[in-house]
Symmetry: C2
Subunit: 350 residues, 2 copies
């Protein structure tokens, strides 16, 4: 990659400025600025005159200049691991809607599930003057958290609840949620379990989900070390490949739990390719309850996450914080299990 910044762009036609509007309306720039920001502080007559000039010239305030002078951008940044799928889309959409209805703009960046890239993106958003940040998950370098602290930048973590983490969060307990699903699978009679996980090294949510299944196994008197775990990249194909690996092990799992719905759909496809019936031969479960879970064949048993509520409330918390009405405090949301046909009794169980 060639990160050299481009040399010299053609200078573009300059837009009308505050000064243009001011001279056009025979007032000072200060008055024009007030008309736009605190209209009640300017008398009606001049205000209409100014606004007429604004319309006539097609004036729009220069965002960068405004940000520089006001030291505020009314912009909130979010960094999501990926845009290529629907896991975060619904929640972020709700986040954006709520922000928009309060006059805030959303800046979206993507980290491609990379810790380094996330750090870079955080720097970028900070440099752009974001008033607050929304991040996904708790795993990140201490230096970044310190930077956020020093800058006193309101930062909220979503898609994970962990009051012990250094940053306040809104979300669900990934371990608890997955443990619930694990219990259910065990109730269905499964004793040989496989797990297809996202990479856990830089992903606390993935770690917690693995931990959840093991917890459920322990509580059921099983040996948690008996869980066969495969870590893989994100994607349907990856889920398929991992599934085949799992099914090659002995004893063969009768149920394969997946860290997310996309991996689970991949597992389902692989099962079909291998001639295995779901759930008669093998049960498969997901996590997230994205639209895909319902489309899957058979429909996926999965953990339902309140995406939209999470996004909406995250926005409200950040806004209240920015308006000085509150302090960020972690909020725990509840998940529930959607039982669908991809989960069945273990083979040999009536």
């Amino acid at each position: 990659m060639d990160h050299t910044p481009p040399s010299h762009a053609k200078r573009r036609a300059s837009a009308p400025t505050l000064a243009d509007v001011a001279s056009h309306a025979n007032v000072s720039t200060a008055t024009v600025s007030r008309c736009l920001n605190e209209p009640e502080r300017v008398v009606a007559e001049t205000r209409t005159r100014v606004m007429a000039a604004v319309v006539e010239l097609g004036y729009a305030p220069n965002f960068n200049a405004r940000a520089l002078a006001a030291r505020r951008t009314n912009t909130i940044g979010v960094i999501i691991p990926t845009m290529e799928n629907a896991i975060f889309a619904r929640g972020i959409q709700a986040f954006q809607e709520e922000l928009g209805s309060h006059g805030f703009t959303l800046l979206i960046a993507s980290s491609s599930y990379s810790e380094e890239l996330e750090a870079e993106q955080i720097q970028t958003l900070v440099a752009r003057g974001a008033d607050a940040l929304l991040l996904i998950g708790h795993h990140r370098d201490t230096k970044i958290v310190d930077l956020l602290r020093r800058r006193e930048l309101p930062t909220l973590v979503a898609w994970a609840f962990n009051p012990a983490a250094p940053l306040p969060s809104i979300g669900f307990d990934n371990c608890e949620a997955m443990a619930g699903l694990g219990q259910l699978v065990i109730q269905y009679g499964h004793r040989n379990l496989g797990f297809i996980s996202a990479h856990t090294a830089a992903n606390d949510r993935a770690r917690d989900r693995v931990r959840g299944v093991k917890l459920a196994m322990s509580e059921a008197g099983m040996d948690p070390n008996g869980l066969r775990v495969i870590e893989t990249d994100y994607g349907i194909e990856c889920g398929a490949t991992a599934f085949k690996q799992l099914m090659a092990s002995t004893p063969r799992p009768t149920a394969v739990l997946c860290g997310n719905d996309v991996l689970a759909v991949g597992a389902q496809r692989a099962a079909k390719e291998m001639g295995l019936a779901v759930p008669a031969d093998v049960s498969i479960t997901g996590f997230d309850d994205i639209e895909l879970a319902l489309l899957a064949d058979p429909p996926l048993t999965t953990v339902h996450v309140p995406h939209r509520e999470m996004g909406r409330r995250a926005a409200r918390m950040l806004i209240e914080m920015l308006e000085g009405q509150s302090v960020l405090q972690s909020v725990k949301l509840e998940t529930d299990i959607r039982v669908r046909q991809s989960l069945g009794a273990a083979p040999g169980i009536g």
Copy 2:
């Protein structure tokens, strides 16, 4: 919605500035600036001293100030109709990757398929100083195009090719592509066709696709007015509802073409609910060839669009334009038809 901007945010801890670095390294701010932007123009000794100060202070340039002074942001904006699904995700991802490797940043906004919101978002991106814009489709108010012209803002349209449109574009001919699929469906013996379309009023791509099917019908000697068209919102459920409406008409269509894959998957679901076999009782086709098309049951016959190539080349065109090496010229990409099981012979045909 309450669009009142928030009153007063707490002033945040101020970040180190160029001046801080300068005094720390005993040089002028100009030298620091040069170290960052044209390192070759400063002698090695001072450069190392400056860079050390940069690191020590954790200095990061203020983006807004830089944009204001340089009158350039190295930022390109894109406005997509929606983030809630995968239609644009792959192409935009490629667009972003290509931009990133050339030192440009992508600003993403979403219009929710609304013409007014798109206009607003364009204004926002312009106000933020985007160096160039990528838009989806040709349909938009003349005033907006004029604004772009006056500002001399390089603007490229994607997901549609139309050399006659006011803005240069990269993409495919939606009419031609859909006509090709229509021909194929007719070759399969279908004479009663239904079409589920996105709303066409503010969407030239949707219009062109409807036109394409009618064109294929005309060429086959059929009456294009015989095409039953239902326009609907975006979403799987909408596709399902529209399908049921179509199947209630007489004579019942033996093939239902859909304006995109998501609608087609909805149609498939509705068919299943109605107890209709695909393709034995009714054929269903999509458009876009997103991942969903392969997951569908049965897999969807659809028009394959070179999303990633489109994104990558769009980025290159814009970058070359910005670097003064070229002028934006429309590029036509080819689509091809992926024939899968959702398309079969018309009932009663051997």
